[in-house]
């Protein structure tokens, strides 16, 4: 049974967060300055936030459950991000020179999902995916899943051992559910995101992991609502919609709705937001949470629609 109040909250939260992101980008916040050289060796690079916006908006376009205004805003944001990446040339150059780095691929995957293509980059990625080195990088296990999912979304001829990759994660080990912390909480959410391709492949989450998440998600959501970790709360709500019937009810949605600002800003945590201060700072601090809110609203509505269609 789908709770229509949850759906209304999800739609409103995501739509307002999208509008906040759109307004900020329209006003030039978060831009890569045209005359600035990106430090290609910087792991947490300048365009990571662009990739996150591309993720959220590509899902809005993929799922097609938003209204025309939101779809238009999503398309405009994607266009803007793609333009800032010089239609993929920046990703291509970074991937070419630092060929074992995974973030150009991961970022490109979001654009490719929405039809933004860069053939030379795809040729490069295809070649690199055959190197043993490209799987040897010592990255977190859930990020390895992100890489595998990006290859799948791009359409590279690559057949990872999904089960082995899943087993290597925190969630795959199904540890004592009370051992989770803020960091491993994010490990869990990202494992679910990538295995299910953000809700498009609910069956991608192995049964034992699905049962484990179903058992404990309400608890994790509750404790992070209590301490006001809104960014992680929003990620957990995404998880709740990525497979099967959601289990957490209204608690998380009500909590996020209560803290979202009138202009759509969703604070990342319970610390005060200096709304009269430097707008750029506020944007940088809270843009990730906006992205997650857009994704949470989108996948929740998409799942409900799929469930209705399947009835």
């Amino acid at each position: 049974m789908i709770d229509t109040q949850v759906l209304a909250s999800a739609q409103r939260l995501g739509s307002r967060a999208l509008s906040w992101l759109h307004a900020a980008h329209r006003d030039g916040l978060g831009r890569i300055p045209d005359n600035t050289l990106i430090d290609f060796g910087d792991a947490d690079n300048a365009y990571k936030p662009l990739g996150e916006v591309a993720l959220a908006t590509s899902l809005v376009l993929r799922d097609g459950v938003s209204g025309p205004a939101d779809s238009r805003a999503a398309r405009e944001l994607l266009d803007g991000c793609w333009a800032q990446l010089r239609e993929g040339d920046l990703l291509y150059e970074r991937q070419l020179h630092h060929f074992t780095m995974t973030d150009p691929l991961e970022t490109y995957g979001h654009f490719a999902r929405a039809g933004y293509r860069h053939p030379p980059l795809e040729e490069l990625l295809d070649s690199l995916s055959r190197l043993r080195a490209s799987d040897a990088e010592e990255i977190r296990a859930n990020r390895r899943l992100g890489v595998a999912n990006a290859r799948r979304v791009v359409g590279l001829d690559h057949r990872p051992d999904w089960e082995a990759l899943a087993r290597g994660t925190w969630l795959g080990a199904r540890p004592e559910p009370w051992a989770v912390n803020w960091m491993t909480g994010y490990d869990i959410t990202h494992t679910v995101f990538h295995l299910t391709d953000w809700g498009a492949r609910p069956e991608g989450l192995p049964g034992p992991m699905r049962d484990y998440v179903r058992d404990w998600l309400p608890v994790w959501l509750d404790v992070w609502v209590e301490v006001g970790q809104w960014d992680l709360v929003a990620e957990l709500l995404v998880v709740d919609a990525c497979f099967g019937e959601p289990t957490t009810g209204r608690q998380g949605w009500d909590a996020l709705a209560a803290v979202q600002h009138e202009d759509g800003l969703l604070p990342r945590d319970s610390d005060p937001v200096d709304v009269d201060g430097d707008r750029e700072r506020v944007f940088l601090d809270h843009q990730h949470t906006a992205v997650v809110a857009v994704v949470a609203g989108d996948v929740t509505l998409a799942r409900a629609l799929r469930a209705t269609a399947g009835e």
């Binding site: 899943a166 199904r174 004592e176 009370w178 049964g207 058992d215 404990w216 608890v219 994790w220």
Partner: protein
């Protein structure tokens, strides 16, 4: 008037610790001991009676877990404590119900001795469907003294029907660093295991965590010891028998849990 109350409260708390320690020691011996048999009823000091009233049904835990019935001397002391000391004042109607159920458990065990008679069930408390798993599990923690062999009723039915909610409450308490509540709830989790229900949470690691990180009090220790003994009834070493992940076998491929 905290200045006047504090010494008295300390004295009562010390008495609870002492009686809990005696009971815990008896439980560890494993024999159906009567830890308070040496305490004279007629001249029992008020802090002792208060402690006995607080611990209630748990005074009989060493005997019940060893398959024996309540012993006379402890029953006499408990009956005297209930006669002399009124039930604690409850701040709400729901809290009053909790006290009634705690009293029911003590009265139920006393009824098996010459010091009591049959007691009716108090009104049934609302379940998690009505109040949600968080509020319900907190109340079940307050009723953890009922998680003993030989006691059964609507509270126990609720525990059987909501093993997952009990496990969720335990995990929530651990994550909130409320180890006192966690200790009480994991006792119910162990109890459901002893009832033959499929475990929703490994008891052994939780007991270890609370033993190492908890308040170290005898009262908490008594609850943990009861939980451990209950979990042994479900057949596993260290309280993990039948759990999803047996201790020392965490990587087993043969248990079928890792199949996707």
């Amino acid at each position: 008037m905290p200045f006047a109350e504090t010494p008295l409260r300390d004295e009562y708390a010390a008495a609870v610790e002492r009686v809990a320690r005696l009971t815990l020691d008896a439980l560890r011996d494993g024999a159906p001991a009567a830890p308070l048999a040496q305490e004279p009823v007629a001249t029992a000091p008020r802090p002792l009676l208060a402690a006995v009233r607080v611990l209630g049904a748990d005074l009989f835990a060493p005997r019940l877990l060893a398959g024996a019935g309540p012993d006379g001397p402890t029953a006499a002391l408990l009956a005297e404590a209930r006669r002399v000391l009124p039930a604690p004042l409850a701040p709400s109607a729901e809290a009053a119900r909790v006290v009634e159920w705690q009293d029911w458990a003590a009265g139920q065990l006393l009824a098996r001795t010459p010091y009591g008679s049959a007691v009716p069930w108090p009104p049934v408390l609302p379940g998690p469907e009505e109040v949600g798993w968080r509020a319900w599990s907190v109340r079940m923690a307050q009723l953890s003294g009922l998680a003993l062999p030989g006691l059964d009723g609507p509270v126990h039915e609720g525990a059987r029907a909501h093993a997952l909610e009990l496990a969720r409450g335990t995990v929530r308490s651990l994550l909130r660093h409320d180890l006192t509540t966690a200790a009480r709830l994991v006792r119910w989790v162990a109890w459901t295991g002893a009832e033959g229900l499929a475990p929703r949470l490994e008891v052994g690691p939780v007991l270890e965590r609370i033993r190492l990180a908890g308040d170290g009090s005898a009262r908490t220790g008594l609850g943990l010891a009861v939980a451990r003994r209950l979990s042994e009834r479900s057949g596993g070493p260290g309280g993990s028998g039948g759990d999803r992940r047996p201790e020392g076998d965490g990587r087993s491929e043969g248990d079928g849990r890792r199949a996707a």
